[in-house]
Subunit: 329 residues, 2 copies
Amino acid sequence: MATVKDVAREAGVSVGTVSKVLSKDLTVKKALRDRVTKAVEQLGYRPNMSARALRTNKLNILGLVVPDISNPFFAQLAKDIEAEAAKQSHTVMLANSDDDPVVELRQIETLLDQSPRGLIVVGAADQSVPQVTTGVPIISLDRRYGDCRLIAADHGAGSGLVAEHLAGLGHRRIAYISGPQSTEVGRLRKLGFCTQLRKICTGSDAAVLICVEGQFDYDSGEHIAHQLLAVAPDERPTAIAAASDQQAIGALRAARDLGISVPSELSIAGFDNIALAELVEPRLTSVSQRTDEMARLAVRLLLSEHPQATQDTFVETSLCARDSTCKIR
Amino acid sequence: MATVKDVAREAGVSVGTVSKVLSKDLTVKKALRDRVTKAVEQLGYRPNMSARALRTNKLNILGLVVPDISNPFFAQLAKDIEAEAAKQSHTVMLANSDDDPVVELRQIETLLDQSPRGLIVVGAADQSVPQVTTGVPIISLDRRYGDCRLIAADHGAGSGLVAEHLAGLGHRRIAYISGPQSTEVGRLRKLGFCTQLRKICTGSDAAVLICVEGQFDYDSGEHIAHQLLAVAPDERPTAIAAASDQQAIGALRAARDLGISVPSELSIAGFDNIALAELVEPRLTSVSQRTDEMARLAVRLLLSEHPQATQDTFVETSLCARDSTCKIR
DNA sequence: CTGAAAGCGCTTACAG
DNA sequence: CTGAAAGCGCTTACAG
């Protein structure tokens, strides 16, 4: 591999000058600059990042810790982050925390060892207690990590959209399958849903709302929906809102197993608008998070002057009404 | 941050000794070793990876390039790779090629700049022509990159399992939705299917096989299945084998839209056994790739002595028969 | 068995 | 405007 030294020799200048040209220092005269640029190309020179990092203490690297990259939502987030990072000439190191705070901490420490410009952490479900102290900025995305600044969808408002949607379709006996209430997301989505529903359906128009806590996964949704639906038809909820698409898809399956037709007998709505939402039968009504916008914000923030300054940011959500919800008859 | 120097001072030894202890050099006497170890803990010393890399030219990093991390199969692969790499104390840098050879090349170059121990590349669909030359070992996973050693599922044998399965269920009018024949995977899966089917159904028992080429995605499967099924019932295939689960799920949807019941009127099988295969209705018969085994092989190989030596490795697959296929009536 | 010293490839005050 | 030189934090022959 060619080094600055080789380039300097080839161009007939000092290594300092080469370095300056490389860093677009305009105090170097054009004639020299051109000679250096030419030598760089001729030798196929690529700077040694480790050497650069040793001097500057910064590598063009961002670290990303997600609970589970095989979760489609996090995969999408990772994709958008990588794309935005690449745009800004940064590479992404990926780590899975497995939703385990101990693993999470270890992963974060390992990533910090690589001198990244910053870390993006989607916090593990269980509260991660022992925070690292470091000069590297850390922001949390989607799920808060420690007391780091959070960028997330406006979960509460998003859930509110679902409540409005279902209420608007005439549903007044509604079940809400929440996420784990140990998680901030789980709490926010539930709160947003309940608050909005109560706000809309007041007085004599009040809705019957039953909430069941679950995990965010398919199995949990299927299991809980089974319980909710295994009652006399006129006691059954006419609509189920779930805190995640996975849960909602599990609920779809439970309804099918029980011979309950969706949406004519039962409306079901999810949250996250994963790719799958469009592919299940019937297509799932869901709340769309702007993962690209969240990724853009997160990356830009980390590369900006004061990444951790100012407060949390909540990105707007939107409702995608599809075939799994309809007007009550 | 504490450095070797700080540790040396604290332990009352030279930096060379500290370095030796850190690298588990047993020529250092136990007494000194213990003093150093204690100092390391006391100061919370963590080695500067950039400095180490500058000397040794190697970082405990693996690079991974996938066409699209939001593809569930690649996401699973990435997860398994990260897990295996972490086991071996290595971190993973992730990049998406977007299935574009130009982007792929750029991503590979960027990753190589970080002095990784090795690169794992899931090749872009279109042949990537301009290969990089480098001292860093590169192996391709799932889809070949250039002329790098390949680790992949035994696609041909896997498809053969599906052919056997369908033939065994009595199907003799079968459609095969292939992947792009510009890709090695697409070709291998198709070849394996056709060859095995012809081998089993010979002479008067010969099967009618119609092959249609598509992309690996949902839309392609849905679209092609629509065409295949929009004919008189007795001319329709009784079984469709698809080159990917996405295609198969698209085909499921097409069948449903056309009012064709699966599996009683039509058997459908996929390939890859993505998580979703168990979640669609009916549950999808598919071929399972051992992503964990492939990941393990790939990572170990890169960290071994002669990563690029010996030839391609094909990992065994297995058939997961579920509810989307059944005996013909 | 331990330490002193060179050097990996950069960047950055500083001198000229 | 350009160059010489120090130094980032390690590892590794080498000397003792």
